[in-house]
Amino acid sequence: MKPFYKKFSEKFIEGLLMISGTVTSLTVVLIVFFLFKEGIGVFDQKPTENGYVIAVSKTNPLSKVAPEDIKNIYDQKITHWNEVGGKPDSIILFRLEDISNYYSDEAIGENFEGLAGCISRLTDSLPGIIAFFPEKYLDKDFKGKVLDVDKVSLSGFFMGKEWFPTAQPSAQLGVMPLVLGTLWVSLGAILLALPLGLAASVYMSEIANERVRRIMKPLIELLAGIPSVVYGFFGLVIIVPLIQETFNLPVGETGLAGSIVLGIMALPTIITISEDAMRNTPRAMKEASLALGASKWQTIYKVVVPYSISGITAGAILGIGRAIGETMAVLMVTGNAAVIPHSILEPVRTIPATIAAELGEAPSGGLHYKALFALGCILFLITLFINLSVEFITGRKKYNKH
């Protein structure tokens, strides 16, 4: 009986181990599933708020209107119907609170029982009107025409220049400013971090003696261990005011502040990975260079760096990845203005910061909620791309090494 028991328990444990082994894969699959299920849902929604309608006069030839146009109409950037393909009438905006300009309180009724009728008549009488109101005030025999609003489109989402998910009557879901903001801040970060990080990794792997290296290595690890919210806090109380004073700005929360903080945070990634790569340069190769009369410095830039270039690149890319995905520090120091940045001294907003700042206020399952998940999808795809390219770069190196 005993061998059987033993065999059984071996199998049982192996099964347990296997299940544990698959947890990470399962998690990735689940993350993809949940992220994309909600995220892709955004393209199945209308940008107008649920339960609201947009109506025009029956005489208006339009039956469909794009979300951007609605926004521009309500911002009074479009003032005539012919600009969106209608008659040359001027547009009359109507929101629910405007009703008292047209009808008396009696006509509307104490409990708004006459409101639906009023809106219906108003829409009929003003040919240039565009009315935005709750669906429950849509009269049974409405005399106007309810406009069909386009669903959120892929091109509108990715190419849209405005991110204003709570705008009335139509949410603006253009991720361009967020994507550019993210890239802008991360690019700045890497420009700051790369020279510093490479210098440190060269110093640690090739120049410093073992004692200095043994001190520096844990310090770099410590730099990696400081929580991002502490970096953000430090940036907020030191770097932000410093930038504000130096450049004489109204606010110090800028893309530059984000880049500096992210740059510091990306340092450990760059240093550890490229230092590792350089230390892997075969000793014989360095000796061959020195034996030919090259100085130590010539050996570093002519042999060590070219040899470990794929590892250095991997470090830089992962550093960028770290910067792109970082949330809290950026949220705290960049000012979070969702506009396409024109200089590093303007507030910017990144994708992760947007999710962190807005998810709390977005009703679960709504358009805004789904839009934030779609942002999560973009972030996920960017980091996946980064991971795979690192895999590709370091994988190719192995091939080179025969």
């Binding site: 033993k6 071996e10 444990i13 347990l16 181990l17 296997m18 544990s20 082994g21 947890v23 990470t24 894969s25 998690t27 990735v28 689940l30 993350i31 949940f34 909600e38 510093l196 990080g197 440190a200 060269v202 110093y203 640690m204 120049i207 410093a208 520096m216 844990p218 770099i220 690890e221 410590l222 730099l223 261990g225 929580p227 991002s228 919210v229 502490v230 953000g232 806090f233 430090f234 907020l236 109380v237 510091i264 410095w297 992962l318 995905g325 949330t327 809290m328 992760p352 999710i355 962190a356 934030l372 998940f373 999560g376 972030l379 996920f380 980091t383 996946l384 980064i386 991971n387 895999e391």
Partner: protein, 294 residues
């Protein structure tokens, strides 16, 4: 063709090298200086806020006075919860990867997936935790949801460190044990794990340091802005140190007046990270020496 003058050339090479090395040295020290300026700034500013009361009292007067006790407790709960999940699963997964699976497509896939998971930004974990644990499974904003989210985040770290440790265990130990007729699991549990154990613990400590500072994954899964009582079950919301620092420094009602509390909170976070790092390094050194002596 005239060859370059020996002495001039040597001089030029030496000068180039000296300049380059100095630049590298200065830049490297600059990084260390950045680290120390961050640490010393927070220690200097936070030291005056820290007292026994600070870590044992509830927040008072709109979080401008009093302590951060509930945030500390909340973070402790989250760290414990996430490790209860991530540590055993991570260690088992690493054992599976290193001791059981043969090189091949399955190992490659698991490895790739673990790498991918490690590369996912923490805010995406937050999104995922919210949609799966909070909404789908109905845990609500709770310690359970937050711990699981943090646990998933820490999982790749635990797996990677454990795997490295297991890889470092010399194969002769395994062969000796298998040669004596021990089964695979007996070999793993009685020979490999005891040797690797101290370094696995080092990995655990480092993941604790990492998890205790994470903010983005707990924003929407557990963190409470202000909660004047301690959690009583895993389905309660909780305050947490990193989120508390975020709230105090950006969206509190009295940002200026709550600064001392913010500095104190930042210092507590830094202390946790420092202790975790020192402990891990100390253990690494201690056991490293012990193994060498054997």
């Amino acid at each position: 063709m005239k060859l370059p003058d020996e002495h001039k050339l040597a001089k030029r090479k030496m000068r180039g090298q000296a300049i380059a090395f100095w630049i590298f040295r200065i830049l490297s020290y600059a990084i260390i200086a950045i680290l120390f300026s961050i640490l010393s700034f927070i220690i200097y500013k936070g030291a005056s806020s820290i007292s026994w009361g600070f870590i044992t009292k509830m927040p008072e007067e709109g979080m401008t006075k009093g302590g951060i006790y509930p945030a500390i407790i909340g973070t402790l709960c989250l760290v414990a919860g996430s490790m209860i999940f991530a540590f055993p699963v991570g260690v088992l997964a690493a054992i599976y990867m290193n001791e059981y699976v043969k090189d091949g497509i399955i190992k490659k896939i698991i490895k790739q997936m673990t790498n991918n998971l490690a590369g996912i930004p923490s805010i995406v974990f937050g999104l995922f935790g919210m949609s799966l644990f909070v909404n789908k499974l109905g845990f609500g904003d709770s310690i359970l949801a937050g711990s699981l989210t943090l646990g998933l985040l820490a999982l790749p770290v635990v797996i990677r460190t454990t795997e490295e440790v297991l890889k470092a265990v010399d194969n002769t130990f395994r062969h000796a044990s298998l040669g004596l007729g021990a089964s695979k699991w007996e070999t793993t549990s009685k020979v490999v794990l005891p040797i690797a154990f101290p370094n696995i613990i080092t990995g655990l400590i480092l993941s604790i340091g990492r998890v205790s500072g994470e903010t983005a994954p707990i924003l929407f899964t557990v963190a409470a802005y202000f909660l004047p009582k301690l959690p009583t079950s895993v389905f309660d919301q909780a305050m947490a140190l990193p989120y508390h620092l975020y709230v105090l420094s950006t969206s509190g009602t009295n940002i200026e007046e709550s600064r001392p509390v913010a500095y104190g909170t930042a210092l507590v976070l830094i202390i946790i990270v420092l202790i975790a790092n020192l402990l891990a390094n100390g253990l690494r050194k201690y056991f490293g020496r012990k193994v060498k002596m054997n």
